[in-house]
């Protein structure tokens, strides 16, 4: 808003010309564009979502409920929650540390570190799973030692958590780094000159400045942690009622011709997506407000 005001005062008329130009497309063109957008939106988003829920409820609420309280489905939900409960705090902590040291300090190898943080984005999830098999598998580097000490990593809960942590590694850090960089170090320096300690500065100055961005990153991280399929599929071992997460359970049910149950469980993931979306929109809005207020 502010920059628009400035433009208008400097170039009187510029705003109105722009406005007229933007809205001067013939009605037909406008309708066509809006129509196209809506068409694709409904084709690729709303229709599948509708199909998902209608299939899940095709045999009524009774069946839907039965599919969700079935022991294997419950075990899958529990495992998915456990995974998220371990994965999100870890990546929250790591993301804050990583973005804090890359945004507020300069040191040799900094750009390499930032690139490395992005690695999970560019690697296929299957590969992320396989590297853990190579490291912790029985034929891998640490496998024989782990087995001798009766420690289970792969094909058990720890492996699933590890693979998920790897895949969701960048979400928080990626969100915070640009934000922290944009805010610069002036406020922290001011705090230090006023006698605040390092931790105090961090909790009183740095963290409040990025809280909405942080929340945004956490929401994305959580959504991905609960929805991850590829990497988890490689390390899970697919033991029913033990190492299947919700997305894996959906695949299994579908392959068993158990379509109502498959879509019922899938609808949980869809609901999770919708809730994430709502939260994400809310934090985005808060973030914008915060930035405007701060600028």
């Amino acid at each position: 808003m502010r920059s628009n005001d400035m433009n208008r005062s400097r170039y009187p008329g510029a705003f109105s010309v722009q406005k007229a130009g933007a809205l001067a497309e013939p009605l037909a063109v406008r309708l066509l564009l809006v129509g196209c957008t809506l068409f694709f939106l409904s084709l690729f988003l709303l229709m599948p979502l509708g199909a998902l829920f209608s299939e899940a409820l095709s045999k009524g609420w009774q069946e839907y409920r039965a599919a969700l309280i079935e022991p294997d489905a419950l075990s899958a939900m529990r495992l998915t929650l456990v995974t998220a409960v371990f994965c999100v705090p870890f990546n929250l902590f790591f993301g804050i540390v990583a973005s804090w040291c890359t945004a507020k300090f300069t040191f040799p190898g900094k750009s390499l570190l930032v690139t490395l943080i992005d690695l999970p984005f560019s690697v296929s999830p299957v590969v992320s799973g396989l590297v853990y098999v190579l490291v912790f598998g029985l034929q891998g580097w640490l496998g024989p030692w782990l087995q001798a000490h009766d420690i289970k990593i792969i094909f058990a809960v720890p492996g699933i958590v590890l693979a998920t942590v790897f895949v969701t590694f960048p979400f928080v850090a990626r969100e915070l780094i640009p934000l922290m960089e944009a805010q610069g170090r002036e406020e922290e320096e001011a705090a230090l000159t006023l006698g605040a300690g390092g931790l105090q500065t961090f909790f009183r100055v740095t963290l409040p400045n990025v809280k909405w961005g942080l929340l945004y990153g956490v929401i994305l991280c959580n959504a991905r942690a609960m929805g991850e399929f590829g990497a988890v599929s490689v390390v899970s071992g697919h033991v029913r009622g033990a190492t299947n997460t919700v997305p894996l359970q959906v695949e299994i049910l579908y392959n068993e011709y158990n379509f109502v149950a498959a879509f019922a469980v899938a609808s949980l993931l869809a609901l999770l997506a919708l809730v994430s979306l709502a939260l994400k929109t809310f934090t985005e809005w808060k973030l914008r407000q915060f930035q405007k207020g701060g600028a």
Binding site: V85, P89, G143, F155, V239
Partner: protein
């Protein structure tokens, strides 16, 4: 707040670890046996409780046969494996030495309590008039089969087609190779497992014919509608013997050898055989086989040992990197 989170962590951890506490077997199996072992596990749990007074739960893991063997090699703690073909079990010996080399001699019938064969599933009314293998190479017939590189079932399919061509008048290695090449040019998509291919054919409506396990074909017809599909039995097919074995290193570490052994033995019992037959696997027991004879049509069956010189050789010639399958199949042609 912090305390609540820690408490939650402890509680969930406890719950998860509790899941592994009771006497438990893990049966790592291939794709189409889901329904079979669901029923069998219940029967065995009952039987074992009666016999020994102990409670046992059997957990299942299913996937493509080769993939499952790989998982066991990489450390998936399977007490028993029930896979699609002997070669995949051999790999568990070759790559990880978890079982002895002579594992297949430990149980009757080459360690295969049940057998199956390869048949065709076509759409109701058989619109493309598919009767035998040579109908699959006709131009315009779209064939669905999984990828022999990853799926055990697909390897049986491939070898069955090869054997058919070989046994024709004037059949030779060269003519078989040409025949199978032609067949695979009619395959629009290779799924990684047998169940994936069934879904492609049945749910997504692709293809005119699905080459499938007999049990898988029966299941598709019975679960998804007799009014939509029918089974076509070719003039010649292959005798598929899915083997079972216990994984020595795992059962010795977990102390489950006795119950695991009994789990496999009971597959050969009257009840085990009946369950196999009810799930459309051909029972090896004569008496049970006689009882269910109507269900399973008679046809000429060749074996891998006689026609292909055993699985190790078949694997090397046909499915290893650079083998005949790689030479024959080029996607997009």
């Amino acid at each position: 707040m912090y305390r609540i989170i820690v408490l939650l962590l402890v509680v969930t951890l406890f719950h998860v670890s509790q899941g592994f506490a009771a006497t438990e077997l893990l049966n790592v199996s291939y794709d189409p046996t889901r329904e079979l072992y669901q029923e069998y596990n219940k029967a065995f749990t009952r039987y074992w409780k009666q016999k020994s007074g102990q409670d046992v739960t059997v957990k299942q893991s299913h996937g493509g046969s080769g993939k499952q063997a790989r998982a066991v090699i990489d450390g998936l703690d399977a007490d028993v494996v029930t896979l699609a073909l002997a070669y995949d079990v051999d790999e568990i010996h070759n790559k990880a030495k978890l079982i002895p080399k002579e594992w297949q001699k430990r149980l009757p019938k080459n360690s295969s309590p049940y057998s199956s064969t390869i048949v065709f599933l076509v759409r109701k009314g058989n619109p493309k008039q598919i009767r035998d293998w040579n109908d699959l190479v006709r131009p315009g017939v779209s064939v669905i089969t999984p990828n022999p590189k990853t799926s055990g079932g697909a390897r049986w399919n491939y070898l069955a087609a090869w054997a058919y061509a070989l046994k024709q008048k004037g059949g030779s290695e060269a003519s078989a190779r040409e025949f199978v090449g032609k067949l695979f040019r009619n395959v629009p998509v290779l799924d990684s497992g047998a169940r994936g291919s069934t879904t492609t054919f049945v749910q997504r409506g692709q293809g005119d014919v699905l080459i499938a396990w007999e049990n898988e074909a029966f299941l598709a017809v019975n679960e998804l509608g007799r009014d939509r599909f029918e089974i076509v039995v070719p003039s010649l097919s292959i005798l598929a013997e899915p083997p079972v074995t216990l994984v020595d290193k795992v059962v010795d570490r977990k102390g489950t050898r006795v119950v695991a052994q009994e789990y496999l033995k009971y597959l050969y019992s009257q009840e085990g055989q009946e369950i196999a037959a009810r799930n459309y696997y051909r029972p090896s027991d004569r008496k049970v086989a006689g009882k269910y004879a109507k269900l399973f049509p008679k046809l000429k069956l060749v074996t891998v040992d006689q026609t292909f010189g055993g699985w190790t050789r078949a694997q090397k010639t046909h499915f290893a990197d650079g083998g005949t399958f790689d030479q024959i199949y080029r996607p997009g042609r």
